[in-house]
């Protein structure tokens, strides 16, 4: 190894990374023209560089299903943000228009809103996105009221045998299987179909240590669920959680099926439950 090699070797990596100053670059180029060993060092570095790149890229190809999942997640996030922004704007407008006595209940009602966008008519579909978002926000309170009402006052079950749940599928529009939730000490009581905002959801009622738990299952492509609650991640899945009239609601979506639980548990427990249902 020549003294010139000793001076050049420490620069060879930065040479390959194109991070040398013009003076250093000149120095290295002048040396490797005359030095076969350093030329080989540069070639080995380049070969290693390209092998690492090829090994890493080939190990993690982007499959179409993953790309679709990411695109759907980003769109859902964008819509969620848009609806939330509009709601904040509306609330701000109400602040200008209403006295403080009316502002308080309005703000409280707006604090937790699950947006259940009812399937829209052709005419509605032609509305601009902004108006559509308003419509979704308008429906949200009404929808949430219905979910909470059903949870609190719901009638008797239509079916109490898990094998008969499939009879409810034509109305709900998604396959129904019974999440056991046994690991949480939950006991299934029965199921029924609930009309909510002109749609149908399956309502599966459980009892869990004296607490009532209602799990709603519905077609999320026909009845997409958005929320302006605090999003959180449970078991690596996005879950949206909030409370209304003392009822905790947690919602999520999986492969086109929407799930929402209404409980008198706390939000953490509701989020955990809804993340466990599929």
């Amino acid at each position: 190894m020549t003294s010139s090699c000793r001076q050049t070797i420490p620069l060879l990596e930065a040479f390959g990374d194109e991070e040398l100053t013009p003076e250093q670059l000149l120095e290295v180029e002048q040396h490797i023209v005359d030095c076969g060993t350093c030329t080989e060092r540069v070639r080995l570095n380049q070969a290693l560089h390209s092998s690492v790149r090829s090994a890493v890229r080939s190990a993690a190809p982007v499959m179409p299903a993953f790309e679709a999942r990411i695109a759907a997640a980003l769109r859902a996030e964008a819509e969620r943000t848009e609806v939330a922004d509009i709601a904040v704007e509306r609330e701000a407008r109400h602040h200008h228009m209403l006295s403080w006595r009316t502002v308080v209940p309005v703000a409280a009602a707006a604090a937790v809103t699950l947006v259940w966008a009812a399937s829209t008519s052709t005419q509605q579909a032609q509305l601009r996105g902004e108006k559509s978002a308003y419509a979704q926000a308008e429906n949200a309170d009404e929808l949430l009221e219905e979910l909470v009402d059903h949870h609190v006052n719901g009638g008797g079950p239509q079916v109490t045998e898990p094998s008969l749940l499939s009879e409810l599928e034509p109305q709900v529009g998604v396959p129904l299987s019974l999440p056991s939730l046994k690991e949480y000490g939950a006991r299934w009581v029965g199921g029924s179909v609930v009309p909510v905002s002109n749609q149908h959801a399956a309502s599966l009622r459980y009892m869990m240590g004296g607490h009532r738990v209602t799990l709603y299952v519905y077609n999320s492509s026909r009845v997409p669920i958005e929320t302006r609650l605090q999003p959180r991640t449970v078991r690596n899945e996005p879950v949206y959680v909030g409370t209304r009239r003392g009822v905790s609601i947690a919602a999520t979506e999986h492969r086109g099926v929407g799930y929402a639980v209404a409980t008198d548990l706390n939000d953490d427990e509701s989020a955990e439950l809804v993340a466990a249902v599929y």
């Binding site: 090699c5 076969g36 060993t37 080995l44 690492v52 993690a60 980003l74 690596n236």
Partner: protein, 218 residues
């Protein structure tokens, strides 16, 4: 002065999809698990979507996303920062940079049998996964994503000198283990001794000729 972007959600989605391969590649090497890597990329992009107003227009979107990905990984998997390596600190690799001959280097980069290439690639991935996390991330960001030292320093939250040191040590470990593997496969023969044999024959200073010149001048 930095200029914050006003990128729309739709534009952001297009940019993000274009960077999926890069993000998934880095995430896969960080997590070493395909399902975790996909979750990490999804979390990263959702965070980036919410914070897209913070992206500085005209800067490298990929580097910005990789910074969020690295931070998300650290927060989720490594609450105390990147894994501390047992090799961190004083240099644990006794091999000098001139340890390997030109012919061996040539054999390593040009294995005679093309059939060995996929095996070598597989080996590189395995060796890479065994590297200490900080070295591995530096090597992937540089060799795969071709980011500058400055961009890597921003992503890893360390000075440029530390990036250079991590890169150097990561690559040297990679090279040294690859050499061992190539020897086991018979791609290269044993070195006669540590050091460059072809260069050993060439004296650093030719004292005889130096003296001759001195004598003729005087």
């Amino acid at each position: 002065m930095s200029r914050k972007s006003s990128i729309s959600a739709r534009e952001f989605e297009q940019e993000a999809i274009a960077q999926l391969s890069a993000l998934l590649g880095v995430a896969s090497r960080l997590t070493r698990n395909p399902a975790d890597a996909q979750d990490l990329v999804q979390d990263t992009l959702l965070k980036a979507m919410r914070a897209r107003d913070q992206f500085e227009a005209g800067t490298n979107m990929r580097a910005w996303l990789l910074r969020i990905l690295t931070n998300t990984f650290i927060n989720r998997y490594r609450r105390g920062g990147l894994e501390r390596s047992v090799l961190d600190g004083p240099d644990a690799d006794p091999l000098a940079d001139g340890w390997i001959s030109a012919s061996t280097m040539e054999s390593m980069r040009e294995p005679e049998s093309q059939a060995l290439r996929p095996m070598l690639e597989q080996e590189i991935k395995r060796i890479l996964d065994e590297l200490p996390e900080e070295f591995r991330l530096a090597v992937v960001l540089s060799d795969v994503e071709e980011l500058s030292y400055k961009e890597i320093a921003d992503i890893m939250g360390c000075p440029i000198g530390t990036v250079m040191s991590r890169l150097h040590r990561g690559r040297r470990l990679l090279k040294s283990r690859l050499y061992e593997h190539a020897r086991a496969l018979g791609i290269v023969g044993p070195e006669a001794s540590v050091g460059d044999t072809s260069e050993k024959q060439e004296p650093v200073v030719d004292l005889a000729s130096y003296r001759e010149k001195r004598v003729s001048r005087s």
